[in-house]
Every structure is written in C-alpha cells, then in structure tokens.
Amino acid sequence: MAITREHDLHKRRSGRNVGLAVVLALFIALVFGLTIAKVSGGAALQAFDHSYRPSLDPDHVRFQQR
C-alpha cells in the first residue's frame, strides 16, 4: 500500500483541521454576538455618522417637546 492522500493518517488530520475550523468559526460568531449584546444591550445600534441627526440629539428632542 502506497502512501497516498487517502491514508488513514491524512483522514484523521483532515478531520482535525475541519473540526478546529468549525470550532474557531463558532467562537468568532459567539464573540461577535457577545459584543453586539454587550454594546447595544439588546437595542438597535445608532450613532452620529459624520452628519447631524436630530433624532439622536437629546437637546433637539427636548426643544421639540416644549
């Protein structure tokens, strides 16, 4: 039997690599999800993005309510 890519050793290595890739992908997804949960507290994220948005300005909202 010649050493080929189909050798049992390669199958085990390939399985380990795929398994580790899946675990790392899930870990990245979990850390990303955790970041969103921590930053937003569950609410949608909004911020001033280089342009003035009156709806995000507390003073503007108070002025309108008067």
Partner: protein, 324 residues
Amino acid sequence: MTDLRTDITYATPGEGSFGDYVALLKPRVMSLVVFTALVGLLVAPGSLHPVEALAAIIFIALGAGASGALNMWWDADIDQVMKRTSGRPIPAGKVAPGEALGLGVALSGLSVIMLWLATNALAGFLLAFTIFFYAVIYSMWLKRATPQNIVIGGAAGAFPPLIGWVAVTGSISLEACLMFLLIFMWTPPHFWALALFMKSDYHKANVPMLTVTHGRKVTRAHILVYTIALVPFALAAGLTSIGGPVYLALALVLNLMFLQGAVAIWRRDEARAEADGYATEKRVFRFSLAYLFLHFVAILAEAALANLPAYAAFAAQFKILEVF
C-alpha cells in the same frame, strides 16, 4: 523502494482524530455540567441577554472540559490499569500526555477569561477555582491520598449550578448554596455505590477508595449515613425561592426512595451481594442519577410554574427560608 514499509497503521501519539480530543473533555460529564449550570442560570432572579446566557453555559462547560483534560493527563497511569478507563485517549495511545496538558491549560484560561467578560468577575473566579479544585485538590492530591477523596472532591461537580446562578446575579445566595450542597452531599453515596460493584478496578489501580481502605461493610454504613445527611439539604431547597410544592412533593418521594435504597445496601452483606451480582447496589447507583436529575427538573418546573399568578401565590407559602 522495497525497504519502505507502508502497511503499519498504528496510531502515533499526536495523530488522534478530532473526536479523541473531544473525548479528553469528558463530554458526558460536560452534559451534566451544562444541565445543572443551565438550571442555576434560568432560576436565578434577574436576567441575562440570551447571547450572554449561551456564552456563560458554553464557557462553564468548556471549563469543566478543561479540568477533565487535566485530570486525564494526571491520571493516565491509573486510567491504563482500570478497565472502565483504559479506552481513554491517553492510555489508548491516541493523544500524547503533553497535548492533553496543553489543551487543558489553554482551555482553562480561555474559559475563565471569557466567562468573566461575558458575565462577571465572581463567576469567572468561581470557574477558575472549580478547575483548580478538580485538577489540583482532587486529582493531584486527594484521589491518591485519602479514602475521603470522593467526599471533598465532590465539590468540583457541585459548583456549576452555583456558577450559573452567580453569572446572572453577581452574588452568592442561600439558594445557590443549597443547589451546591445537593450535589456535594449526593456525590459520596453515588460513587460509593459504584465502588461496591466496580471493586477490582479501584483495587488494581491502588486508588484508596473507602472499599479498599476500610472494607465494604464500612462503605455500606457510609452510604447510609451520607444519604441521611443529604435529605435535609434536598428538602431545604424546597423552602427557598427556587422551591415550592411541586419540588417538595417530588423531593419527598425521591429522598424516601433513596433512603430505602441506602438502607437496603447497608443491610446486605457481601455473600448476598455476590450471589445476585450486586443487583441492589447497581439499582441504587442508577436511581441516584435519576434522583439528582429530577431534583433539578423540579427546580426548573417551579421557575416555569411561577409565571402562573395563582400558582405563584400558593407556592409563596412554602418559601419560608431566606437568609441572605
């Protein structure tokens, strides 16, 4: 090229499959940890964001798995001798001992830091202490030193519901302590029942189980005494905010059955046990698993039923224990 032999297929340490590395984490123990930690987390007052809760459970389980890998690294010599554990990755030659140590240390650090970041510092500290307790206090010290190894070592398995609770509340309370004590007091009779019918294994490995050092008659008496000591803690949990009438009713039945089994074990002698192949000991061991599982199911059921206003008002009469 005829000198090259390519027909040798034995496993070289370090070339194990992905499943062999998962086996190092003791997945069956992890499933029990996930369940009890989840109950602690779900019944605790307050709430976590679902992603935070998921992360907490995953990292508590990963911490438990890491301590399992460290245990397998340290106990490889014992595992090789015992029939029950000889198929584990290290004695089977699938994973090198150093790899198990590396995986255990790396996952310990990762799980503690991630649990801290996902929830709070106290939860992270308790997970770190649990790993230290299981890997160092139990595996490295007590297991080979004293027949009381199971009694004190049981604390390691008792921490997960406490950590789940602390992950939500950030503090330790009476309810969390009683969930801890329920598992802590349950562990000795559970493992000694196992030791009674797995006798040759522990004897062969030179592990000072009570059966080996003090004899089987003393072990039978210890099972009864520890089962009696377990009952007040199991029932007391029913009188706190996590308990209620459903829990109390179920706990009463389960504790009576466990006591009955412990008395049956205590009354038997070796000749009778040998004659029926340790039937009673095996039955009590299997029942003890259901005993613990059903107590935590009942705690979960009480939390679910508390959403019904009529039931919550009725159950409030039973919740008389509140210390801190």
